[in-house]
């Protein structure tokens, strides 16, 4: 190879490296992500959210209604949102993520007024293959936003744990509680 060709080859490699750097940087993030684990309270401005437990099943029993679809399991995540002194926020968004895909919850969150906390179940419809590595995220985002806080809670479902859960509860019925506010004492 001539020297000139070699130089152009090096140049192309350099350009490819820069393209790779650009791809690695990615888009400007619009969320400030902080991680939490099951059982620990995490704060979004004045309110705290705690993921208590989760359950899976084939059938969802919710408010005297049975729901079920083939090929889909329901993951009900029990959470508590406590609001000691903030304004009742309408800007919370809850979602789930697994295997690079995002999942929307079946219902909006019930937000507590100041001085109250609400324990409720957030329900996701999943493919059984998406159970491992599922994370629940809480994002506080208004209509106009720039950079918002986001809490990502890893449910800690490893692949083995997912297999255990599916073996045990694949065809169980998940009962969700009605969200009732309690006073924070």
């Amino acid at each position: 190879m001539t020297a000139r060709l070699r130089r152009w080859l090096v140049a192309i490699v350099a350009c490819a490296a820069m393209v790779g750097l650009h791809a690695y940087s990615g888009e400007f993030p619009n969320e400030h992500v902080s991680r939490a684990s099951v059982g620990t309270p995490a704060a979004l401005y004045d309110a705290t959210v705690t993921v208590n437990s989760y359950a899976i099943g084939q059938v969802l029993y919710n408010d005297t209604l049975f729901q079920g679809r083939s090929g889909v399991i329901y993951l009900a995540v029990n959470i508590t949102i406590a609001n000691p002194r903030g304004e009742r926020s309408v800007n919370w968004q809850v979602g789930g993520e697994a295997n690079g895909r995002t999942f929307a919850a079946n219902d909006l969150l019930d937000m507590p007024q100041p001085g109250f906390r609400i324990t409720q179940d957030v329900v996701f419809e999943l493919d059984p293959a998406d159970l491992a590595g599922f994370t629940v995220s809480f994002l506080h985002r208004a209509t106009i936003y720039a950079y918002d806080p986001k809490i990502v809670v890893d449910l800690g479902i490893t692949a083995e744990r997912a297999d255990e859960l599916l073996a045990a509860d694949r065809y169980a019925t998940v009962t969700t509680v009605k969200a009732t506010p309690e006073v924070i004492r």
Binding site: C15, V19, P149
Partner: protein, 448 residues
Amino acid sequence: MPALRTLSGSLNQLATTTVGVWWRCLPRLLAIAVLGWAGYRVFTYLAAMAVDVSAWLSLFVLALGFVVNLSAIIIGLRTAGEELQIRQTVPLAEDDPRDNSISHLLSITLLPFLGIYAVFDVVTDAANQIQVNYWVLNGLTFERQVLSQLNPQAEGNSLWAIVGLIIGLYVARRLIELWFERTGLRPLGLLSALVEGCFMLIVVMSGRQLVVSIGKWVDDRAFRVWLDYPGWGLQHVFGLIGVDVGAWLDQVGALWWDSVWPGISAMVVEPMLWLALAALVFGNRVISAADLWRQGRPVTLKSRRAEVNVGERQRRLALEVQEAFFGDLNDKYLPTWQSLRLVLGVGASFFAAFVICYGVLVTGEDWLTRGMYWVLGGHPAAFWSMAGPFIDLISTAVGEPLRWALLATAFHTCLALFASRGGQPVPDEPDAVAAAAGAAPASEVTER
């Protein structure tokens, strides 16, 4: 490997010279960058306030903002260029005094500059920013959608009115330029730059909507389905051998359009365009000189206006008409193309070194901004409408002077490389100015 050694040598030289120029010019460049930033910001907020009066007025104010932005870039580039003594690198007999006036430079560079910004979506981002600023100033309301007022398909707007406005602005600008050439009044040059800015913004915003609606119209036609047949045929053929070509092509397409192409356009195309723009700023004559150097011939420059004076009246009229309509071609597009060829023709090592330096600089500036956001944490939009400008100011003050120094250094390196190939001695640093002045006296420049 000698190729790697050449690359690292070019990289080293480019980086150290850039930092040297940056450090020597830092106070001036910082002042220019900060003033340009402030001016642009003032006009974007004024544009947001002008939305209540008319969307077109706010577009005009936004054009003013871009003109201020570009003026800062021009002045910054020229300051860095003076430090490198780029002008002295090219000893010219016929130096067009217009080349030194900011308003003339503005009028030459505004169109390519806005073109670059349009291609990289900065213009639509600025228009969206007007909408956001409007909401910040007036509370969230959906009554006044800024962009929709510029949409030719939206109710209340006529397509022909917008086309007429675009043509009218173009004619107005040519007339103002003719007037400017006759009288030489400086404010006219600025006015023509402003009119051109408005013209470009309207073309970009309304034109974008037009392209989208044309695309939608095509999608609605029956013949659109014909274009899908080859794809289906291919899928069928590949399906026979059991390969799902559709999914594979989708993945490749996604990889290309989501990662590779944005990377190429941001990290390879954009730096070259900016270098071409810097070449425009440093002067057409400088570019043609360097171009001619590539072939090893000495510099010959003629003014186009001088040619028009010669000949009969009809021929002169024809040339004037040609100048009126294709003057843009000679003034803007050709020089941009010439400067692109210039920078691409320098050599692989320089190209790679420049791409790496620019990429690292731009990425560093981006990470600085992200770092500041990360440190401050998540907050609602009201907080960011106050803190955002400060973060932007810091990253502009850090990044822009470095970028201008890099562009000036890169262009100077281009010229130096060409001159050394053409056998002309060239000053590398200000210390060598005396050598250059002695080496190329005016008598060597001949008319051909």
